[in-house]
Symmetry: C2
Subunit: 343 residues, 2 copies
DNA sequence: CTGTTAGCGCGTTCAT
DNA sequence: ATGAACGCGCTAACAG
């Protein structure tokens, strides 16, 4: 009951178990893995001894020897953003159920930090990496080192790697068409980037909806803002002051916060005076009154798919050519969008 | 540009660098660590070669040899709950800046999963573990195996380990006193557990505030619900139907969602008809109209402190006796709490 | 089915 | 200042 040895209580090894069970170390190794030859009797004895001694296999030694590992690196931009948290949660769920571990790194959307983190993961000998990329060269670097990579949510450059993406264009188009269907003709788009497949896709869906409806899109209604709620709030101010919009479409959940803040500040009634819609459904959007009309990306599912895809790749169950999984988003109409006000 | 070898492109090792640089492996090892003797000339040459070959040290081999590791296990209950996400984000921030890695596991608040995860972390030879405990024996098991443990947010049983806690009693008391100060005398408390230090502390603060004000607390106003929004919603129904409360205090952010949902469903005006307050400030609480009066736990700071405490312990910079850091919460008054309605 | 041998990649002795 | 030898804990080969 003491067990209070100051030293890093060196834990029992296969040697200890072997000695205690009266067999050789390799027999212990075989007996503990379900695979491998070992007689029932020996297996049971070894397992009993291991249990009694509190033996826990040393992953580092095992991995070093067998040149494999079950750890998976996950590189995301911002854990405090529910989008990334959900993504990570989906990934972790599958990894855990399959006996893998998740090494999670927040790269703050910074390419340098991402590259640095990728090198660390390399050093740790992870079996694969799931990344929401921000640095163009990152996945290539990993792949060049024999590490499987799955891009989550977006793809950067022309790198050939497996990916799980939301169908951004379809989702944004549907959302925009919903607004147009309500009679809106001047819809402001808040968007932070269009270099990535996410922003590019959403913008293109926004355009496509206008084209489809025969509306000549005023380019001034597309406001490029930076990636934070405060910037979005200022951009919303601009849209509201100068461009006579009757609806605002936010390209992600963070920008939507800024838009909502400004609208609330002005005490504009939603949706009577202004409609608000956002890409990426997150919990607060159904808690506010009225609820925000959104596109649900099924973010947790995206995470799950990433993990499944990566594990399949690691187990070499997939054809060589890179696979892209597209998760169809779903429009959720809530109270924040309504008929365009009469002029 | 090809680099398309099918085999897990075995990466360069110290051997390769040594051969290429015309020195011995041990010299390479010394040259790459800042410490250790090596002539300037050799050191530079070795570093140049390592760079050119894309050499990345193998953590598993290093750790195996040196019997240390920089990986830290983090065990939390639910990554999708912003409380845990913020906690993890704070932990990760400090770990990363100090050259450590975070292995994150979601135990879903299940003691068995937690124990299982702890064993995995043990196998991975983590240098320490940060845990929001749910299984009583978990931290003891880890400590018995020589692994440093920091309990985050709550403590279970009488286990002696470092911990970073919110001052739940003070926070809940302040929040309750705020309500009492507004004239509320029948305040319903939604709480999911009181076995942990969190629930126990918050309940005790709730009681203390009543005592302090000389109000005889009706025990029926304390509703023990289970840990999900839907259960909280039903409990809210009960409070509203049978107990004539003028205010509801939710013991955490999840339960608050249920309470708000029911209040909105009944179209009760906040705060005129009913006041709502919640422990644990999360983003949606300042987005809804009116904003929810809360206690901010400084969750990210708690995470940071956990990591700092753990690293200090690992570096043996702390006296033997266990340290408990208490992070003072802060009352944030928003619009959801107002004077109690006249009878 | 089992034991013996060897070595994963590295850092740390000990010699020189 | 540098190289040779050894071993961390484990498992893949090989015998038997």
């Amino acid at each position: 009951m003491t067990g209070d040895s100051r030293k890093p209580a060196s834990r029992p090894t296969v040697q200890d178990v072997a000695r205690e069970a009266g067999v050789s170390p390799s027999t212990v190794s075989r007996a503990l893995h379900t695979r491998g030859y070992a007689s029932r009797e020996v297996r049971e004895r070894v397992q009993e001894v291991a249990q009694r001694l509190g033996y826990v296999p040393n992953h580092m030694a095992r991995n070093l020897r067998s040149r494999t590992s079950t750890a998976i690196g996950v590189l995301i931009s911002d854990l405090r953003n529910p989008f990334y948290a959900d993504l990570a949660a989906g990934v972790e769920e599958v990894l855990r159920s399959e006996g893998h571990q998740m090494i999670l790194v927040n790269d703050n959307g910074d390419p340098d930090e991402e590259m640095h983190a990728a090198e660390t993961l390399l050093a740790m000998q992870v079996a694969g990496v799931i990344v929401t990329p921000v640095a163009a060269g990152c996945s290539k670097m990993l792949q060049d080192n024999g590490i499987h990579v799955v891009c989550a949510d977006r793809r950067l450059g022309r790198n050939g790697c497996d990916a799980v993406l939301s169908d951004n264009k379809a989702g944004a188009q549907e959302l925009t068409e919903h607004l147009i269907g309500l009679g809106h003709e001047r819809i402001g788009l808040l968007i932070d980037e269009t270099k990535w497949s996410t922003g590019a896709g959403r913008l293109s869906g926004f355009r496509a909806a206008h084209e489809h409806a025969g509306i000549d899109l005023d380019e001034d209604l597309i406001v490029y803002t930076s990636f934070d709620a405060e910037a979005a709030r200022e951009s919303t101010r601009e849209l509201l002051n100068d461009h006579h919009v009757t609806a605002i479409l936010s390209a992600n959940n963070v920008l939507a916060q800024g838009a909502l803040a400004e609208i609330k500040h002005r005490k504009l009634r939603i949706p009577h005076k202004i409609s608000l819609a956002a890409y990426d459904d997150v919990p607060w959007m159904s808690l506010v009154q009225p609820g925000i009309t959104t596109v649900d990306q099924h973010t947790v599912d995206i995470g799950r798919s990433c993990a499944q895809l990566l594990l399949a790749r690691i187990r070499d169950e997939l054809p060589a050519r890179h696979r892209t999984i597209r998760v169809a988003p779903r429009l959720i109409v809530r109270g924040s969008t309504g008929p365009a006000p009469r002029k």
